[in-house]
């Protein structure tokens, strides 16, 4: 397994080639280097994955940990370029490299006419390398390289079309908001090292597997600080504001970075450090509740958005909330399961949306679309599969992972608040209803309602095969991804659960088998029934409002004007930040500059100089340059001295 770092190396080479020489290379070669380097990454990950499974069948289960070079060594602080190969990192590496590869291929078509072609692939390769560093690192600080590295590539890619002011602003917003989270994340890292004297995950786990000398407060503090980092990266309330704006980037970027992979880094981090988080049941509950709240909060915003990508962005925020909900309840492997299926169907949705945007020449407002199913049948089918998967239509990927989360929530009885599980289950199914509604609202508005554009002007067209093939491949994942972890009710083996639980089983969570043995299979079936009914209700409502009674929504908007405006304006969170943080911050900085720095601090310096100067001016008349004056000074001084001496003696 001591070759997994090659998965990181290949995209780095791609970055160097395209970054240094890309502008002088033919476009075909640039695209080939970009895609092939990621393909090699995928092959390395796949090979490692297969070999790992092979070693398992031989009963050689284990974690493989190694380092290639030392990085920072000062006193007792030792950080290496070290990597950890275990089920969690393997699954993540495989998902990341596969989706990345497909998005790279798609970009060949999507970015074909862009004059920043090589820059785009260079940035995208940088992203893959950093994301793989993040998931393969064996210690917190190397993980932080990846963490900030994906943030950097996100920043560069959101602002890829830098001539647009909105894109440049959005890039900066993403970086700064993430930095706010990283501020807490860094403190979490420092506290971890200060008290636990280590940065390596396996060593930390070993140290925390037994009793420690520290009370729960320390772990609550560490866990919450680290979690704030996850809030920033995974766009949870209240640091979610950067993600919708990030849609200014090219759509493949939104699909890969802002949906499938980077934004899940926070979930991955919490799961990776599950042994630490389980030490604080308080922190876990905070995670669960914040995740649940964000899930329903973002879903409600998605109900009324009109930009095809913003709906999906809020949906991403909402789905990430689901993942945190699961992790917070101790169901870490289920969080990763949902992360895995979500990577497929959300990138599918985004890439299909990208095809739509491509097909209608850059239009993103769904109110100006409609009836596109006729012009772009393949895109339509792919989008529909994605929508069905995320809504939780039975037997598609999202159905299984979402149901697993809901079931875990229903079963959970956290010590601090035993009813938390039930509360979160209700939030979860309510979100499922909303999700089904807004996804099918989108399907109808884009593809099935009467067209709302001049056909002769726009002439929508299906996209090229190089963009369609990745779509179909992702569709396969979106349909079958869930079969890796079937619920006990199906009486078929759950492959993913036990595999992941090798690393994620520690802590309060019960194992999958235990969970299912303890549960009443009938109850599981009933719960499943409830969620299916609600999902179908959501789909039905969308069908009714946007198909049967097309046009009725305008009346509804007028009837519920106030709540509609609240949702349309995203609860005014951005405005709140502007009023409470950005504007006062800028005013404060200006005041510090003008009043404190120029006025007081520099003023004092100049005052001293002025006083000295004024004193000099005062004495200046004495220096006349005439000898007679000086002679007079000397003479009178001598006389005065004599008198003084005489007085003193006398």
């Amino acid at each position: 397994m001591q070759y997994i770092h090659l998965a990181i190396l290949w995209p780095l080479i791609g970055l160097l080639v395209n970054g240094l020489f890309g502008r002088h290379l033919p476009r075909k070669l640039v695209g080939f280097v970009g895609c092939f380097s990621v393909f090699l990454s995928f092959m390395v990950s796949l090979y490692a994955f297969v070999m790992y499974l092979g070693s398992q069948t031989l009963g050689l289960f284990g974690e493989y940990e190694y380092y290639i070079l030392p990085w920072i060594e000062v006193a007792d602080l030792k950080i290496n370029y070290g990597f950890l190969v275990d089920p969690l990192s393997l699954l993540m590496a495989l998902t990341v490299s596969l989706v990345s590869f497909l998005v790279h291929v798609y970009s060949l078509g999507y970015m074909a006419d862009d004059d920043g072609y090589s820059r785009f692939f260079a940035y995208l390769n940088l992203f893959v390398a950093m994301m793989l560093t993040l998931v393969l690192a064996n210690n917190l600080v190397l993980m932080f390289i990846g963490w900030e590295g994906v943030g950097l590539s996100s920043y560069l890619l959101i602002g890829f079309w830098y001539r647009r002011k909105a894109a440049a602003d959005a890039g900066m917003k993403a970086f700064v908001v993430n930095r706010l989270g990283d501020f807490a994340f860094l403190i979490g890292i420092f506290l971890t090292f200060w008290f636990l004297h280590n940065m390596r995950f396996t060593a930390l786990r070993a140290e925390l597997s037994g009793p420690t000398e520290y009370g729960p407060y320390l772990f609550t503090a560490i866990a919450l600080f680290l979690f704030v980092g996850a809030i920033g990266k995974s766009a949870q309330f209240p640091l979610h504001v950067w993600l919708p704006d990030a849609m200014e980037g090219p759509t493949p970027v939104s699909a890969l970075i802002h949906a499938a992979t980077m934004v899940t880094a926070g979930v991955y981090m919490v799961c990776r450090l599950n042994f630490l988080f389980t030490w604080s049941s308080f922190a876990l509950l905070v995670i669960a509740f914040l995740g649940g709240f964000t899930a329903i909060f973002a879903a409600s915003i998605a109900l009324v958005q009109n930009d095809i990508k913003r709906v999906l962005a809020y949906s991403t925020i909402s789905q990430l909330g689901y993942m945190f909900l699961a992790a917070g309840l101790g169901a870490f492997w289920i969080a990763i399961f949902h992360l895995f299926t979500h990577a497929f169907f959300k990138s599918l949705l985004f890439l299909s949306a990208g095809s739509v945007i491509h097909g209608v020449r850059g239009e993103q407002d769904m109110r100006k679309m409609g009836g596109l199913a006729r012009y772009m049948p393949q895109t339509y089918w792919n989008f529909l599969i994605g929508a069905m998967a995320i809504s939780g239509i039975p037997l598609l990927a999202g159905f299984f992972s979402k149901d697993a989360i809901l079931f875990a929530a229903f079963q959970a009885k956290p010590e601090l608040i035993p009813s938390a599980g039930t509360i979160l289950w209700i939030v979860g199914i309510a979100t499922a209803l909303l999700t089904a509604f807004y996804m099918f609202r989108q399907v109808y508005m884009v593809f099935l309602t009467p067209p709302r554009f001049e056909e002769s002007e726009l002439r929508p067209h299906e996209v090229s095969w190089v963009m369609l093939v990745p779509l179909w491949l992702l569709s396969i994942g979106s349909v079958f991804g869930g079969y890796l972890a079937l619920p006990a009710l199906f009486r078929l083996p759950n492959l993913l659960g036990p595999f992941l639980q090798r690393t994620l089983a520690l802590g309060t969570e019960k194992s999958a088998e235990e969970l299912h043995r303890a549960s009443d299979l009938l109850r599981e079936g009933l719960l499943m029934g409830v969620s299916v009914v609600l999902v179908l209700a959501g789909v039905g409502l969308a069908y009714y409002l946007y198909r049967v009674r097309w046009g009725v929504t305008e009346r509804l908007k007028r009837m519920f004007a106030a709540p509609y405006r609240l949702l349309l304006n995203k609860y005014y969170v951005d405005e709140l930040y502007d009023a409470a943080v950005v504007t006062p911050g800028r005013t404060f900085a200006a005041a510090v500059d003008e009043v404190v720095d120029r006025g007081v601090v520099d003023g004092l310096v100049n005052l001293v100089a002025f006083v000295v100067g004024a004193f000099g001016q005062l004495l200046r008349p004495l220096q006349t340059g005439f000898v007679r004056n000086y002679a007079w000074y000397v003479g009178s001084g001598a006389v005065a001295l004599v008198i003084i001496l005489w007085l003193v003696r006398g």
């Binding site: 060594e73 006193a75 963490w147 900030e148 501020f183 200060w194 004297h197 900085a589």
Partner: protein, 491 residues
């Protein structure tokens, strides 16, 4: 080769080679500009290469090596005494071990800087040059007084001396340490500069020509922090510990305050100048954390600041040479006409932001790690500086490079020339080298820092035994610091 080197006074050659170069150039007619340019360049390169030769000889036990000692004014015990350890050698190169010699060099640096700003500066150059020199000199006079005081005090123990190594062995009474510490400290605080003594810096930086700004950032400011660690902490450890909370506090104020002022700047050079205040705040915080991580981080950060801020000044200078303005508002959309420039600026900017895998991160990470362990509240506030750094640097970057390239004057801009690229490439390589493979640097610095820290801690225990707990507040933290010194977990 090695034997040859062992006997040669390399350190002296390194110190005086540039001076000799200057003397030779003064004798050559000034209209032969070509000769002057190349000669100056080669002298610098030769000096640098010779300095590199010092590296292998540096002691790994924190002692001084390459010592040279000649009598200078024996009547007063003033010697010509040079020597380097791990701290001075990475800073290329502060080597005086005699306080009077140090003082002479310290003041000597002012002369060329004064002329650089005063003659080749822009705008209010006379004001800036005067402010710079007068402000620094005021601080240094107090240092001179303290140096003489040290001599007088040391004469109680036999012959009076200005020798650093001998003075270090004398233990001064507490109140004397306080006065000496304050006198030295003020000189260094102005030079660093530590808030609130920083206002000469933006003026000097802004008015200085590019080369002057780079020298200021790369060398002059380092004299202050080097002085702090070598003399203030080295000679007056007890006072240093007593003042540590204050110094750390001022460092943290510098970080936050400098960053806030940066946010309000609309002049590129002023912005970079104030970012210096913030960065040097980090150094001060690390120096007075009194643990190995903080202090090593501080020394690395001195190097980083020189490289990154120096490079930023170079980059701003290149832009100024083209557009003759430094107003942020004058730019926008430069990524389009100047893609190479864009990439260099991006890397340097990110290094200043403290992005992991670039040099700034290594320094800041170690400083904050040490700072938090020394004082969790101050350290925690300092971490917030990384957020603010992103705010002002990204804002500047956005204003210069992004948005539509509307101004026709900007659309015509030439990208970097080969010469400019050649200047920047080594700096970028250093940025990556320290960021990715800092270990060689760390290994040189660590022993020297360790011996300084241990020395401080010895003094602390001595006072701890005799004192009635007057400095109890900082002692609690110091126990933890001492603990972190000893531990050595496997990783």
């Amino acid at each position: 080769m090695k034997e040859f080197l062992a006997g040669a006074p390399i350190l002296s050659i390194v110190v005086f080679l540039p001076l000799a170069g200057a003397a030779i150039m003064a004798l050559i007619p000034s209209d032969r500009t070509r000769f002057h340019r190349w000669f100056a360049l080669w002298i610098s390169v030769a000096t640098f290469l010779l300095a590199l030769l010092l590296l292998p000889g540096v002691s790994s036990f924190g002692e001084f090596s390459h010592q040279e000692r000649y009598l200078w004014i024996p009547q007063l015990g003033i010697n010509y005494h040079l020597g380097v350890d791990g701290i001075s050698v990475v800073l290329l190169l502060f080597s005086s071990l005699d306080l009077v010699l140090f003082y002479v060099f310290w003041e000597g640096v002012l002369i060329p800087m004064y002329l650089l700003i005063g003659i080749w500066g822009s705008g209010r150059r006379i004001y800036a040059a005067m402010k710079f020199v007068l402000y620094t000199v005021v601080g240094s006079f107090l240092m001179l007084v303290a140096i003489i005081g040290l001599y007088v005090y040391s004469s109680h123990y036999g012959v009076g001396t200005f020798d650093f190594l001998r003075l270090r062995e004398i233990s001064l009474p507490g109140n004397l340490q306080t006065w000496f510490f304050l006198a030295f400290g003020l000189a260094f605080a102005i030079k660093v500069p530590i808030f609130p003594f920083h206002t000469w810096l933006p003026d000097a930086h802004t008015e200085a020509p590019t080369a002057g700004s780079v020298l200021l950032a790369g060398v002059l400011l380092k004299m202050g922090t080097y002085g702090l660690i070598r003399f203030s902490i080295g000679l007056f450890p007890e006072a240093a510990v007593r003042f540590a909370p204050l110094m750390m506090g001022l460092g943290v104020i510098g970080i936050i305050y400098g960053a806030l002022v940066c946010v309000a700047q609309r002049d590129l050079k002023r912005l970079v100048a104030y970012s210096s205040v913030a960065h040097m705040g980090f150094v001060v915080l690390g120096l007075f954390a009194f643990n190995v991580q903080g202090e090593v981080g501080a020394v690395i950060q001195m190097v980083n600041h020189g490289v990154s801020t120096g490079a930023l000044f170079l980059l701003v200078g290149m832009l100024y040479a083209r557009r003759h303005t430094r107003e942020l508002g004058a730019f926008g959309g430069l990524a389009q006409p100047m893609p190479v420039y864009f990439n260099f600026f991006l890397i340097v900017m990110l290094s200043s932001v403290g992005l992991p895998a670039l040099n700034g991160f290594v320094g800041e990470f170690l400083i904050l790690m040490g700072g938090i362990q020394a004082d969790w509240l101050l350290g925690g506030i300092a971490v917030f500086g990384v957020v603010l750094a992103a705010v002002y640097l990204l804002y500047m970057f956005k204003q210069v490079f992004f948005g539509p390239c509307a101004n026709p004057a900007n659309r015509q801009l030439r990208d970097l020339s080969l010469r400019e690229v050649a200047v920047l490439v080594p700096l970028v390589l250093i940025i990556f080298w320290i960021g990715l493979f800092p270990r060689p640097c760390l290994r040189v610095i660590e022993p020297a820092v360790k011996s300084t820290v241990q020395r401080v801690q010895q003094h602390i225990y001595r006072t701890y035994e005799s004192s009635t707990g007057s400095i109890g507040g900082s002692l609690l933290a110091l126990d933890i610091r001492a603990y972190s010194l000893e531990g050595g977990s496997e990783n």
